[in-house]
């Protein structure tokens, strides 16, 4: 049987994702932060109660997206704060750096893991110095840029791996997860769209 911590961790991604989706939608219709939180929580309850085939919608999501890595959990929490308070992080340097690193890391890992490439970079997470050295370089650069949230999250991920806190014995599983990768890609799409819109606005006002 799995422990309570494992049980909750397995459901944290799904719970936060449902919460973020519902709170973000209620943000569009300009509800207050309190109401967004309530709607986010109600969405989790609804996902638990709505049955699809033999299991609840929530169970489907849990089965589909697994538990988060340390950076993935931080990103989900940031998105939850963003969805409930309306606060934007995408103009912050550290957010951009962290999500850019997630996008790059995922691009390095997942194509091989899904079978698109003949070489599977996942094996670098079992042994050898390549991945630890890359992480050390990333940490050094994050320190140089004073991105302390990124540093703290990577340190938590490394500590979790060193202590064998997760189920996997592969370092990759502690530093990235597919949901974090997809959210980071989404964040960068948003950043790109915002940049394009901002560029167009001055020219539009000049034309007016």
């Amino acid at each position: 049987m799995i422990s309570t911590v494992d049980y909750l961790l397995d459901r944290s991604s799904a719970g936060l994702l449902v919460f973020i989706a519902a709170a973000a939608l209620s943000h569009i219709v300009r509800l207050s932060p309190g109401k967004r939180i309530a709607i986010g929580l109600l969405a989790i309850v609804a996902a638990l109660l709505i049955s699809i085939s033999t299991r609840s919608a929530f169970d489907w999501i849990v089965s589909a997206i697994e538990r988060p890595s340390a950076p993935g959990l931080l990103l989900l929490v940031l998105f939850a704060i963003c969805a409930t308070t309306g606060r934007r992080f995408d103009d912050r340097r550290e957010f951009r750096f962290g999500t850019a690193m997630l996008v790059l890391t995922g691009a390095l890992l997942y194509p091989g893991a899904i079978g698109f490439l003949n070489y599977d970079t996942y094996i670098l997470g079992y042994s050898g110095c390549v991945l630890p050295l890359l992480l050390a370089l990333l940490l050094a650069y994050a320190l140089y840029r004073r991105c302390f949230f990124v540093v703290a999250t990577l340190n938590v991920a490394i500590l979790g791996f060193l202590l064998g806190a997760g189920r996997s014995l592969n370092l990759w599983d502690y530093v990235i997860d597919p949901l974090a990768w997809l959210l980071a890609i989404g964040a960068w799409i948003t950043i790109a769209i915002t940049a394009v819109v901002r560029k167009r606005k001055p020219s539009a006002s000049v034309a007016a």
Binding site: Y7, G115, S127
Partner: protein, 397 residues
């Protein structure tokens, strides 16, 4: 004064972050540098004395009233006889599947017993599982059996991960299911089929295959606790084949017989070789035995030969035959036919053979007969039958 305090705190926080990062990075590099110690294959060379009957003995394992889809059988020897496993569901990949077992005391097969079903696996691992498939058992110690099987979390075999359950009383009772972590993308998509192997350092090699997007064979290396410590893609990548049956031929050498993809031509069994205990494998190449796109079972027969159970037909799983291969996988000799499908019965097939030497000179093969048959069959032959048929086939040539 406030500014000075803030500056001091920031400096301390910076140095704390630097210190933590340096220490953790150093520990990480140290741990990863020599984490997976080199391993070698543990090679069991059976004696295979020429003994036993010249008759084939055949039984049906599944009960006569079986209506479900049954498939993917495998065997293990226990002190009280054979123990067979297979999976059962309303249809292939259906929800609420079961891993079932039956015992053979030498005379008859017992009624089936449920080892695990989708619900119990769901309860054990805390994630909802849809279907189960392809159980393979491994003798861990005198009384301990590890049973690996595939479990699909969503829909389709591509969403499978590998589950391990253990028995410490030779299959009387089974412990909770444990997930094998072997992939970064939602721990998908790996499945089992063939016999696991023993490695030095109390480790286990589990032949498996990747299903999502591209099918290819892999070898998982497990530690003594059944956790994945390495994963090796067999055959230099590419879209080639799957369901490898690995046979060690020396401490660092082995060959693996690989099921071809349906689209692969020629319609032959594929073979891949390693000379570094499985760290690298040659690209799979076709051999001079046909393959309809079904799995191959292979075990070491004696000090110079490997025994294969396979479908000797490029199109259909129309029979199960035995053949010998030399240890290089360069020479093959057919021995004889164990079973042929009922040509009168539409849809009949003899699929997924699994081969075991249950006692010296005694060989057992199980295979499935998919709907409309709903059957798992068992065939037992002796080394005397094998040698006799080998002579006959040589004479016929």
């Amino acid at each position: 004064m406030g500014l000075v305090d803030q500056h001091t705190t920031t400096t301390w926080a910076t140095w704390a972050a630097v210190g933590c990062s340096v220490v953790l990075s150093a520990l990480l590099i140290y741990k990863m540098a020599n984490r997976v110690e080199p391993w070698t294959f543990i090679v069991d060379v059976p004696q295979a004395p020429v003994r036993g009957d010249l008759e084939i003995r055949a039984e049906t394992i599944t009960p006569p009233d079986e209506k479900d889809f049954v498939h993917g059988p495998s065997l293990i020897q226990t002190p009280t006889g054979l123990l067979a496993f297979w999976y059962r569901a309303v249809y292939e990949g259906a929800a609420n599947a079961e891993i079932v077992s039956a015992r053979f005391d030498g005379n008859r097969w017992s009624p089936t017993a449920v080892v695990k079903n989708s619900n119990t696996v769901t309860r054990d691992i805390g994630l909802t599982v849809k279907s189960l498939a392809n159980p393979v058992a491994f003798r861990r110690s005198e009384n301990e059996i590890w049973l690996f099987f595939a479990a699909s979390r969503l829909s389709g075999w591509a969403t499978c991960e590998i589950i391990l359950v253990r028995s410490t009383d030779n299959g009387q009772t089974w412990g909770p299911a444990q997930r094998l972590y072997a992939a970064p993308f939602l721990n998908m998509s790996h499945l089992t089929k063939s016999l696991p192997l023993r490695l030095s350092g109390d480790r286990v090699a589990l032949p498996a295959y990747h299903e999502m997007n591209r099918k290819y064979p892999i070898m998982l290396v497990l530690d003594s606790n059944g956790r994945v410590i390495d994963k090796l893609r067999m055959g230099n990548g590419g879209t080639v084949g799957y369901q490898p049956a690995i046979v060690p031929t020396g401490p660092t050498t082995a060959i693996a017989f690989v099921r071809r993809l349906n689209s692969f031509r020629p319609q032959s069994i594929l073979i891949t070789r390693t000379t570094d205990a499985g760290r690298t494998w040659t690209p799979p190449t076709p051999i001079d035995l046909p393959n309809p796109g079904g799995p191959i079972a292979a075990i070491r027969y004696d000090d110079t030969r490997i025994l294969l159970a396979f479908n000797d037909d490029p199109e259909d799983e129309s029979n199960v035959k035995l053949a010998f291969s030399n240890l290089d996988g360069t020479s093959f000799r057919r021995i004889g036919t164990l079973v042929e499908k009922n040509a009168q019965l539409k849809g009949d097939a003899t699929a997924y053979p699994f081969l075991l030497e249950s006692e010296p000179g005694q060989f057992d093969v199980v295979f499935s007969r998919p709907p409309p048959q709903h059957i798992i069959d068992h065939v037992r032959v002796s080394s005397a039958w094998i040698e006799h048929n080998l002579e006959r086939s040589a004479e016929q040539k």
